[in-house]
Amino acid sequence: MHELLHQISTGIVNGCIYAMLALALVVVYRSTHHVNFAQGEMAMFSTYIAAILIGANVPYAVAFLACVLFAFVSGALVERVVMRPLHHAPVLSVVTVFVALYVIVQSAAGLVFGYETRSFPSPFDALGTGGILAGHEVGILLTTVGVLAAMTAFFRFTRLGLAMRAVAVQPLSSQLVGIRVSRLLMLSWGIAGAVGAIAGMLAAPIVFLDPHMMSGIMIYAFAAAIVGGIDSPVGAVVGGILLGVFENLAGAYLVGTELKLTLALVAMIAVLIVKPQGLFGSRSAQRL
C-alpha cells in the first residue's frame, strides 16, 4: 500500500513538470496554432543561465528571477526575429524551423556550457517532512499550483489576458478593436519561455543538468498537452499529471521502466482515438 502511494505521489510530481512545460506549449499554441518543439530546449538553455549564476554564489532567488527574465526575453526575441517573418509561411515550413531551433539551441548549449552532466540545487530541501514526498517534490507541487493559479488569474481577470484570449479565438476582430496583435504574440512567446524555464529549474535537480535534459520531458509534455486538449491550460495540467501517474504505475506494475514511455504514448493514442480534441480541448481547434 505504501509502495502504491509512493508511486502515485511521485507520479504526480513528475506529472507537474510535464504539466508546466505543456502549459508553455499551450500558451504558444493558443496564439499561433503552432507547437513549439524547441520549447524544452529553450528551457534547458535558460536553466544553464541559473546554474552559472548559482555557481558564482548568486542567491537562488536572484538566479531564479534572472533565469525567468532571460527566458522571457529570449522567447519574445525568437518570436520577433524568427517566427514573425514566417507568419504566412506554410505549416510544414514552420515545423521545419521548430525542429531546426531544437537542434540549434541544443548544440549551442553544448558548445557554450559543455556536455558534462552537472548537479543543480533545489531551494526546497527544507520542505521535506520525512513523509512520502521529499522537500523538492513538495516544492514542485506548490510551484505548479502557484504558476497555474497565476496564469488563470492573468487570463481571466486582466485586460491584457482578455486581449490574449481574444487574439487566440478571433485574430481579425482583435485587430479591428485596436489590439496590437503582433505585440501580443511576442508576449505569448515570452510567457511560454518563462513558464518553460521554471519547468527546467524544477526538473534539473531530478534529471541533472545537461544539454539533453529536457528531451524526454518534452515528449511527455507534448503528449500531455495533446491528451489534455492542446488549447486548454487546465487540460495541459490534468494531462501532465495523468501521464505522470500512469507512467509510474505502468513502470512499477505492468511493463517495467524500459517500456513505460512507450505505454504512456499508447495511452495518448488511445485517448485521441476516443476523443480527438483531447480531454479538455475545444472542437474548433480541430478545424485545421
Partner: protein
C-alpha cells in the same frame, strides 16, 4: 459640410484579383453615407480597404484631416474608425461583457468606458440579460446588436457597418436601424453603411454611392438617389411606379 472621411482614387485587390478601381467617396461629418450595389460590386472590399484588413489597397484615404492609408489595421481602429465586419466578428467563446470590454480595450479612460458599457445595455437590453454568457449562444439579431455595441465601445469618430440587416427578421432590422438613427443624430457619430436593403438605407442616409463592378457609377444626396430612375429600377424594385403615376 466637411468630410470626416475622404477616399480618393482607391484601387484594391485580393492577391491578383482586382476588386475596386478608382473609387472616391466622402463621408460627411456627423452624417450617414450609404454604399449600395449588387453582391460582388466591392462594397465589403471598400470597407476592408479603409480598415486595411485582408486586402491590398492603394490610394489616398484621409480621416479627420490625417492620412491613414498604409497604416496597420489596429492603428486605424485606434484612430477612431470602428468597423463592424461582415459576419459580425463576434468573439463567440467569450461572454457578452468580455466582448464589450474588448471593444474598449484600447481606451485608457476606465470610468468613461464603463459608463459607455452601461449605455450599451440601455440601447440593447437583451445584451444585459446575456452579459455573463458566451456571446455565441445569442440569436443572430442579438449578435448583430452586440457587434454594433462592441464597435461603439471604441468611442469611435466613425462607424462602418457591413450589412447589419443580413439574415435578420424585419422587426429586428427596424429595431437596429432605430438605434443607429438615434446614435447618428444624438452623438453626431458619422456612419458609413453597406446595405443590401436599399430603400431602408436611403431612408436613413444623408448621401449615397452606388458601386457596380468595383466602380462608383451613381452618387449624390440620398433623397436625389431615391428618385433616380436607375436606382429605382436596379435597387428599389419599383420600375412601374412612374409609369402609373
Amino acid at each position: 459640410m466637411t468630410s470626416i472621411l475622404t477616399v480618393r482614387n482607391l484601387y484594391a485587390s485580393y492577391r491578383s484579383l482586382a476588386v475596386l478601381s478608382d473609387v472616391s467617396i466622402d463621408v460627411p461629418q456627423g452624417g450617414m453615407t450609404a454604399l449600395l450595389g449588387a453582391n460582388g460590386a466591392g462594397k465589403t472590399t471598400l470597407l476592408r480597404a479603409i480598415s486595411q484588413v485582408m486586402v491590398r489597397a492603394t490610394g489616398e484615404i484621409t480621416f479627420d484631416g490625417r492620412r491613414i492609408d498604409g497604416q496597420p489595421c489596429d492603428a486605424i481602429a485606434r484612430a477612431g474608425i470602428a468597423h463592424v465586419p461582415d459576419g459580425r466578428g463576434t468573439f463567440t467563446e467569450l461572454t457578452v461583457e468580455e466582448n464589450l470590454c474588448l471593444g474598449a480595450i484600447s481606451r485608457r479612460d476606465k470610468a468613461a468606458w464603463q459608463q459607455d458599457m452601461v449605455r450599451m445595455y440601455d440601447y440593447f437590453p437583451r445584451l444585459h440579460a446575456y452579459r455573463r454568457k458566451p456571446a455565441g449562444l445569442m440569436s443572430g439579431g442579438e449578435q448583430q446588436m452586440l457587434a454594433i455595441a462592441r464597435a461603439l465601445m471604441l468611442s469611435p469618430r466613425m462607424l462602418m457597418l457591413d450589412e447589419p440587416s443580413f439574415g435578420l427578421a424585419p422587426m429586428i432590422v427596424r429595431q437596429i436601424f432605430d438605434i443607429l438613427r438615434q446614435i447618428n443624430t444624438e452623438r453626431q457619430l458619422s456612419i458609413l453603411l453597406v446595405e443590401q436593403n436599399a430603400s431602408l438605407a436611403l431612408e436613413l442616409a444623408t448621401n449615397a454611392y452606388v458601386l457596380e463592378s468595383g466602380r462608383v457609377t451613381i452618387s449624390g444626396p440620398a433623397n436625389v438617389l431615391r428618385g433616380d430612375e436607375r436606382v429605382r429600377r436596379a435597387y428599389l424594385g419599383q420600375p412601374e411606379e412612374t409609369a402609373h403615376a
